[in-house]
Symmetry: D2
Subunit: 363 residues, 4 copies
């Protein structure tokens, strides 16, 4: 009811405020006897953590995780896996000035409207620090998916007006992690970095998009009505802080195509049924068809900027506001592992859900 | 687990195949003592039904609904409201030719992969006829929201490359229902109708977009983490057949703005806190802030076209396919009430969820 | 949230008021490709229906069911199965006298407290007529369980102070359906019938107990913490109208045993691990162990009696009340198929839930 | 799906193995702005903890709790409250001998059947140590209920064949905590203590019953079909380790009464509607009626005994087993706060659920 849990069969529940003792996750529904890959967890945390590069927030978090349950002698038990990360580099006094003012385009105001109370330090629960828990959960989901050979690869496809022109299958996605902006187009990556540095110097922020590719997903995953695989992916993405849009397959561009062009013709290739194009984005009627699933998420420019802004106080007076905390000028590069984590959670959930009904896919 | 239910506190469960005996819905969680507005139900069904105009499918369905439970002497009882609509004008023989072939970009193939069985007649459960049940549920959600003065208005904002250039607040949304294409820009509406007729003559299909505006939504609705109001709206939209994209507020365009421009400054106007712009689309941190909520959904061109297509048989042989059924060349106008229904369901659900925790909004 | 749905993976949602148009169920999560056994459905309905014998209510319901969805050419589709039974023999005027009075030990009063509105005709949704929907759902659950060889057998083990002295495994449960009171002890059955007839003549009512045996249940079903198989069975039973108690295995008697006697010793019999006694009732730590599961449910005497009673009006005045409707003097015999249905629903749900996590039981 | 979560609106999710790093709970759905009563939490933990008296297990746990989230400046935030208790006095080597053998009437065997893996140390997740998390959650539920004046009082009503003969309303429940066996009948309490000590000396164990009284519960709580207040209480109780039975109100005894005696006559007392008797146990049709709710749970004798037993090895060989760990001869006294915690969770959940639908109770 409170929306702190995501997933039905493979589910995570997250908890924690930005400047509270810890951020944590309970991963429920992980099958037993999966080898627990602690390195993968740390790798994913590192990809998300602040201070990882010149273009990210200077908050320093070692992001050491502690497993509290569910893993025994290196294997999952089938019981809930609880993992926490302590909040260490909290400078709550930085936020004292914000106690009595609502930051524009932040959730300070709506939290107060909803709850009548808020932890103003570092944004409390509204902080993107909550996504630490998602990355932890996503790492475990990846462990499950790895046993099936499913691959999840996200990358930055645009920063502000700098947009990758090639489609995902024309790029070498192995290059994504070779630069700090996580864009596999090396030339554009350098321009993006320069743009982000410039925005930082100006005390401003930039948005962008992330494209995510799910390959080797078995056919038959996803439920055909409300829990379409694409619908759950859309929700997963829009649940990430700062995401304002989602499109899958042909997306908004597809609205300008005609059916005769948009339809993905089937062909039997050596007896295997495949589609000759993939405007559907690997999902038809909400169910995976075995082709690549690809989608794009839109991130608005982050709300925390250094420039002076007009706002109001908690006492309803008009005030000027200057935000001094440690912020990214562009969160999109650090959001890449978060997008992957949420996608992994959707897939792991639908994998188990399809198992429940026991059908072996055939055609 | 099967995704035939939508919502947590105000929830609908839908059932029915396109050519089965009936399509139906169970609406669970409707508060007691709400006046049941049967006219509203019929109005919404009529807006969705086939054969309503020259540009929609000739399938003739009176769409008479029968209430099976939950309403007594014109009031809701607080118990489940079950409503069914019988399928009458079924010409299942039209689909005999499709029994052994998979239609491109339809869910025939993925249903077979998932279930190993399908009702091929009229698409079975994968048919958009399932949305009759959503419109029924949405009508009841609207009854609840009407008691609060919440207003839901959707309209066609583009067909193929014909796009409304004005933003929603520059249009007179009362004009939406004055033309069959449901576009409040009268001049463009005529062009859209002509384009749809041309596509129909060519045996082709067109996509488009629908914009939806939710006004007078109380502040404080929506849960801040996974069940953000925007995340649930995204899922709601992507769960509609043919939808491939969603954006809220500034959406994809917002990714090209800078934070200093994108941020919605707060101002205290006569002591009431408002935002001076609304790039956020009425939601901050997943919670409504009292401003208009507006979003856009992208519909691909419908997959059923008359032009000959390449496909495969259920026996995995390459075949040519010609689809003869009764189809719309552009479903977007008929999808307007469906978009509204799904949005109403999201809002009614979050209304009750916020009630559960008993807080009175204040600021 | 409203508790009209039971089950997580195999779930039923019921709807309908006693004197409304219909009672119905949506069965969600039934695996595809199960042969639909319509005879089984009718048989179960007949076992539950009023007027089936001299000792049951004279309300005459043919209890004809109509399948609205989810079944195609005799097989389940994997989509929701909606089934309804029309209410035909409604004599709502019988209840006019009860419109303004609260019947003792009925839910008239609490419904009014909860909802502020109620359908007083025949008890509305509070009527045990709602269990028609459970029997429909249970019949489909049995179809699933039948494919696994699981057997569900309930019988009347006591009426008032007439109690079967033998344990379930000393009885021939095939005799249960040979008498109208559904007690496999033939001699006691006749005494029970006489007692019920006497109570009927006195305008009074009798309670009793039902014992239920689940045999051939695979080991490994049930979740070890909150959704213990025994916990879900307890909830299932207590959710049936008039049930006031539940015990499994040694139950209340077991509280007077010592651990050294109560513990079920394991033994390896031809390499298969079995228990030498079964005080646990086939479940250890909430998980089935492969032995017989047996439990007992306590039914209070039904509240509708003809004797004059003291009560109050809806206007809060003290009144005398005489109830004239058509009632059973003892509902316990007709509750046997309801107990079986609820048990079947619990088992089918846990079967699918165990499937989700993909483990093959081994030891 | 895995049953590690209890509740729908006010929900707890528990995690942790007996000898793992910690036992924990995430409490989700606690309303904001509730004063957090840390003393209450510690008091409840102390009532449950081992080593609290001469008749309980000598395992020494300080049971210090740490709040990880959801509480700020002494108030609940409305966000998830995570609390953990570290496992300190773990003597895992005590369990080495049990690694390869299944203890009779324990869940060792069924865990292995279900998961194919288990943490054998101290019973892992099957250990009643998991109930630490329930007590934590229950304490927070009590904080919510305290704001409404709801009172929850459980006590030991029997140990083995020593049974309190008075009904709950003839006892002074303030005496419950004055003796280590938690029985408000002081004379019987001493006999119970003697019996437990004797069983301990014999290396045996005893069962018993706990009666629980919920007073001042507002009318209108509980859902009328599957989630009857009594059904959820039954599930709550049967989910506690070692519980084999549940009865509410007249329970099993009521099956031997006639309707004319069992029915609770209504009377208008100074305009307030009350019942003159309370065989219903404060719940009619699954909904609270404002009278005291009382029920009884049956605990089997605990399975861990020192006497030699017959069992089997994981290799399917017949073996003798001697269990040396630190165990209670009778867990019933320590289960009193667990019963209260589970009852509190059920009530808090139904309180919020009733809020969701916004009705103000009236009659």
């Amino acid at each position: 009811m409170t929306g702190n849990t995501f997933g039905k069969a493979f589910a995570i529940s997250t908890f924690g405020e930005s400047h509270g003792p810890a951020i944590g996750v309970v991963i429920d529904g992980c099958p037993p006897n999966i080898s627990f890959d602690a390195d993968l967890v740390q790798t994913e945390l590192n990809r998300r953590k602040p201070g990882q590069s010149a273009i990210s927030s200077p908050r320093k978090e070692a992001e050491e995780f502690e497993i509290l349950s569910g893993v025994f002698e290196g294997k999952t038990l089938g019981t809930p896996i609880a993992i926490i990360v302590r909040n260490k580099d909290v400078k709550s006094q930085d936020y004292d000035a914000l106690k009595d003012v609502y930051r524009p385009s932040h959730a300070d105001f709506t939290y107060m409207l909803k709850y009548g109370i808020r932890d103003h330090r570092g944004g409390g629960r509204q902080s993107a620090r909550e996504t630490v828990a998602r990355v932890l959960g996503g790492a475990v989901a990846k462990m499950v998916l790895n046993t099936l050979g499913v691959r999840i690869q996200a990358y930055v496809s645009s920063v502000h007006d700098l947009e990758v022109s090639k489609s995902y299958d024309e790029l070498d996605l192995n290059l994504t992690e070779t630069n700090v902006v996580r864009c596999p187009d090396e030339t554009l990556a350098q321009k993006m970095i320069a743009a982000i540095e410039k925005a930082f110097d100006e005390g401003d922020s930039l948005g962008g998009t992330i494209t995510c590719v799910l390959s080797n997903v078995p056919a038959g995953w996803g439920e055909p009505v409300f829990d379409k695989l694409n619908a759950d992916l859309a929700k997963a993405m829009l649940s990430i802080n700062a995401v304002k849009g989602f499109e899958i397959g042909s997306g908004f561009t597809g609205t300008r195509m005609k059916g005769s062009t948009h339809n993905d013709s089937f062909a039997s290739l050596s007896g295997e049924i495949r589609t000759l194009t993939n405007h559907s984005g690997g999902i038809q009627g909400g169910i995976s068809n075995g082709e690549d699933i690809y989608f794009r998420a839109a991130f608005k420019p982050v709300a925390s900027i250094k420039k002076e802004q007009n706002s109001v106080s908690t006492g309803h007076e008009n005030v000027k506001i200057n935000i001094d905390g440690r912020h990214d000028a562009c969160v999109v590069p650090r959001a890449v592992p978060i997008v992957e984590a949420m996608a992994a959670l959707v897939l792991a959930d639908h994998y188990l859900r399809q198992n429940a009904y026991g059908m072996q896919p055939f055609a």
